[in-house]
Symmetry: C2
Subunit: 642 residues, 2 copies
Amino acid sequence: MIKINFTSHNKEVYCNKGDNLLEVARNLNIFIDAPCNGNVSCGKCKVKLLKGNVDTEKTLHIKDEEWEQGYILACNTKVIEDIEIEVPSKLSSSMHGMKIEGSDKKRDKEIFDRAKNIIETHNLDFKTNIVKTYIELDEPTLDDNISDADRLERHVRNNLGYDEIDFKLDILKKMPVVFRQNNFKVTITYVKKKNKITILNIESGNTEDRLYGVAIDIGTTSVVVCLVDLYTKEVIDKASSGNAQIKYGADVIHRIIYSSKKNGLDHLNKAVIEETINPLLESIYIKNKIDKDNVVSLVVAGNTTMSSLFLGVYVDYLRQEPFIPPFLKSPKLMADDIGLNVNKSAYLYLAPSVASYVGGDITAGVLSAGIWASDENILFIDLGTNGEIVFGNKDFMMSCACSAGPAFEGGGISCGMRASNGAVEKVSIDKETLKPHLTTIGDCDPIGICGSGIIDLICQMLITGIVDRRGKLQRDLDNKRIRFNEHEIGEYVLAFKEEYNLENDITVTEVDIDNFIKAKGAIYSGASVLVESLGMDFSIVDKVYIAGGIGNNLNIENSILIGLLPDIEREKFEYIGNSSLVGSYLALISKDAKQKLKQIGNEMTYVELSVYPTYMDEFISACFLPHTNIEQFPTVKSLLGE
Amino acid sequence: MIKINFTSHNKEVYCNKGDNLLEVARNLNIFIDAPCNGNVSCGKCKVKLLKGNVDTEKTLHIKDEEWEQGYILACNTKVIEDIEIEVPSKLSSSMHGMKIEGSDKKRDKEIFDRAKNIIETHNLDFKTNIVKTYIELDEPTLDDNISDADRLERHVRNNLGYDEIDFKLDILKKMPVVFRQNNFKVTITYVKKKNKITILNIESGNTEDRLYGVAIDIGTTSVVVCLVDLYTKEVIDKASSGNAQIKYGADVIHRIIYSSKKNGLDHLNKAVIEETINPLLESIYIKNKIDKDNVVSLVVAGNTTMSSLFLGVYVDYLRQEPFIPPFLKSPKLMADDIGLNVNKSAYLYLAPSVASYVGGDITAGVLSAGIWASDENILFIDLGTNGEIVFGNKDFMMSCACSAGPAFEGGGISCGMRASNGAVEKVSIDKETLKPHLTTIGDCDPIGICGSGIIDLICQMLITGIVDRRGKLQRDLDNKRIRFNEHEIGEYVLAFKEEYNLENDITVTEVDIDNFIKAKGAIYSGASVLVESLGMDFSIVDKVYIAGGIGNNLNIENSILIGLLPDIEREKFEYIGNSSLVGSYLALISKDAKQKLKQIGNEMTYVELSVYPTYMDEFISACFLPHTNIEQFPTVKSLLGE
């Protein structure tokens, strides 16, 4: 046996000769960010060898200077003798992304208002089919000695007027003790369906005022959980964190590949349920003094892959031609089926997917955006991991998925991070000094950059001439913030480590910019094709809704200038935030909305870009700042004086 | 920490000073029989202290000679220092009772024939609502790329003609891989209900010929599992063992008391599911090469307490006035709800109980006995642990429960054992030598005595004058088989240890006889009251069915002579064996029979003996051999020449 000492975590572990260092760390629950899931392609899993020798190789990701200091890629390292390893505490290799973030009351209110607006505008009901009622059962005597279950049934029949009563074993298990805690005075929670009720909870005494539901948005990168009062329909609290699946890969493809490996599916399922959602729920319960048994309904939205992994369903055939998902519509589920930290009998509904790469997050988003009832032509762009686009109105809806990767959520960018505290969300660059002015979320010192920040940064680099329209740094600028490594790859320093007491400089490299240009090119070309496939162009679009985790301070102007969004009237654009969460919330509080959501899933058309004749050409043309055809971007043309 | 070395099991364990020795052994899974569940009342948990000192006391159960040898009661012993303990390997403290016993093809055939007879006599259907069908799905292409779940649904709609399809998560989890193992050729198992089907299983290829169900009888003492081919309806195999709950007490009252202690309910639930039923199923699967996923339906019968513990439902209120059971009717259940070792989606039905002490074993027994359709007056006596009685015909059925304890299954008798190999099942005693002639189950050397053997033995002791009508041994008989201990308690030696190379003599003591007389008195008086309550006497009875685990060789004549059964025409009696198992089997193979079973549960009347005015007098009168009023037993009167 070989001993590894992870000095940074004060943990020792024994493993076998030849074991992979990244795997060993994972088994020990030491988080090492590995977006490519150990394929030696992203270079993020850099750790420092303090003592001993390993079987490894220097890769392009490791600078000479780093190599000399002992930096190695964990995924590319076999353990051969006792060693000491330091996992750098910087962003990329910390659990920072898993920090639970609380709620912002103002934003919670926005969710409620947006949903309420949809409900009112479209005359939807504002109610669920879940009821909670306080009842007083007859106390048993020697002459009235029917069983506890029969006593409840008799009461329901005689006093509530339902013919049939149904419950799961967990309810039966509660019955004897709950009945006797308060002399057979109890509160029952149930779902009614015609003349039958299904009991979801029984509690001692009168607890009629406590009835909750949960809306969950499972993003590939981030997960948001939203606790809702099912009486007032108000958002009580919200909490979010990174999706703990990130350690198995940053995007859905890497996750799917991992899921097909031994125990992979189980690991991914546990990562999202036990390591992400359940802790988020627990944090809300503690803060708000909520009994989890009072959470009796859930609506969950995620892309097709996230939905499958959430249920622990094998999803590898999604990745192989002909790209078949295991399911699109939500199966009938109860929370206990997958071990969620809520009432065991709670109803669980998954927003329906449309296709392998247009999932429940999009149908929920479309529900909240109101496209299904709109007279205007709406272009809906979800800038999450990957990126999905819907175009339509009340008569038709078309959707497509772009292979944009996780760039808009900070993935695939060396100093990228999701839109949370410490993320640079706005950037302007001084034309003379080329010094950036940074605004961070939470107004703290910067620790990385999120999607909206990257857009600003690249736009400013383009305008100030730091990069050309191919995204390459000018070689002849003499400025300490612009530098090139031994492979002649340029980088711009957003923040020197000395400025903010960081472990490393925050930089954006030409590789990062290239990744980002591909991402924004995928979105723009996807939108173009969708509109063109109807024989139209962007002028037909009445409204553009931008959704997703890109950050609240998305600068529309800058997004247009770099060619992410079409160069049309600015007032047509609106950033609508986490529309998937708002849609889940809508379906949670309104039966009608849930019905609409099902309908959206059934009726939306899917366009497969990869087989669409002109898509590849469109994509290549869009991989430029803003586009090879500058005529499509008159604003940029005049700004750059071309 | 204190070390205990169980030399007999070659196991060492550490515990705390003051820990109870019986508890420590249980935690280590060392079985020490404790019918009274550690109340220092039965004296069965006798172990030998080989080394060290303990905090214990000599009780009446320990003979002087044993005390000198180091024998102590585990339940009455606190550990105070390192010790060595030997758990005697004799019957009372071995795992003998948990040995899995296989099937006897002849008896299996009897089950089938008895059930078939009921089905034919009463024109019941001979079918279930479970169907298995081989289907060939269209293979997916880029043009036909609907999800796996939708593909199945489409096929069912178009080809099988059902409107709705439903399945649990475990089926969805199987789908992607099973579909592709054999090019989308699969076999589905489903339950149909009107125009809707619920999928219970999907398998690759054509497996239409494999469809199984399981009937289970959960006795307080023994458990029998019966695997059934749902096509042919034949019994494929049967296996039985003791109920592993026995370590927590021999009768339902001790179990209920234990269930209300910390973790007690959980321990009892695990004992019956994980330690009893699942191993029995596993033994059958291995022997018959059965895939557990093909077991899709179960019918289970047990008394009210066994039914509750089987589901893990709190049952302590059954023991406290007004004696309320948690449930009587079977809740809707799937095998996975309680972790049974069968298909997760398998349907699980519990035979309904009638009252706190008349359970599903009795309704199932009554189903198989055909009382519900009989013109004749039938007296049904279940001689299991406790003992329940039903009297009735097609127009009415009345039931009662007797506090007979476990004596008929060998419990509460010092050398008692259940009716399995090595149990003495027949006894005759030579009038001159007083030497017994023994017949054992399996024709092996005797290791204990079962219910039918005890009846024979006591009857023979009465006839030969070894005991008087009070059950006391004659003091003046000079015979080596009759002896008295220091407390003047007499015993009769059935087998000397030297005769069969036993660790101890097999004896029956006056205490045993007294216990048995109380048990038989409870049954006889219960039956009397039931018949009398209708203003009748035993002459009105047309048939007496004896059911239960008392042993196949019950001697009716002897049972009458000792006053267990009424002294009426011998041809009216019939031993029908494990009627609870036959009833479960019937409900498993016939929809109509299951319906009848529900009806029996709803319609049977329950008579509470403890509040019945004349019961106590009747009981006391019956605690005699055969009865204080010998006029009720003319046969005995003439035999004893009184």
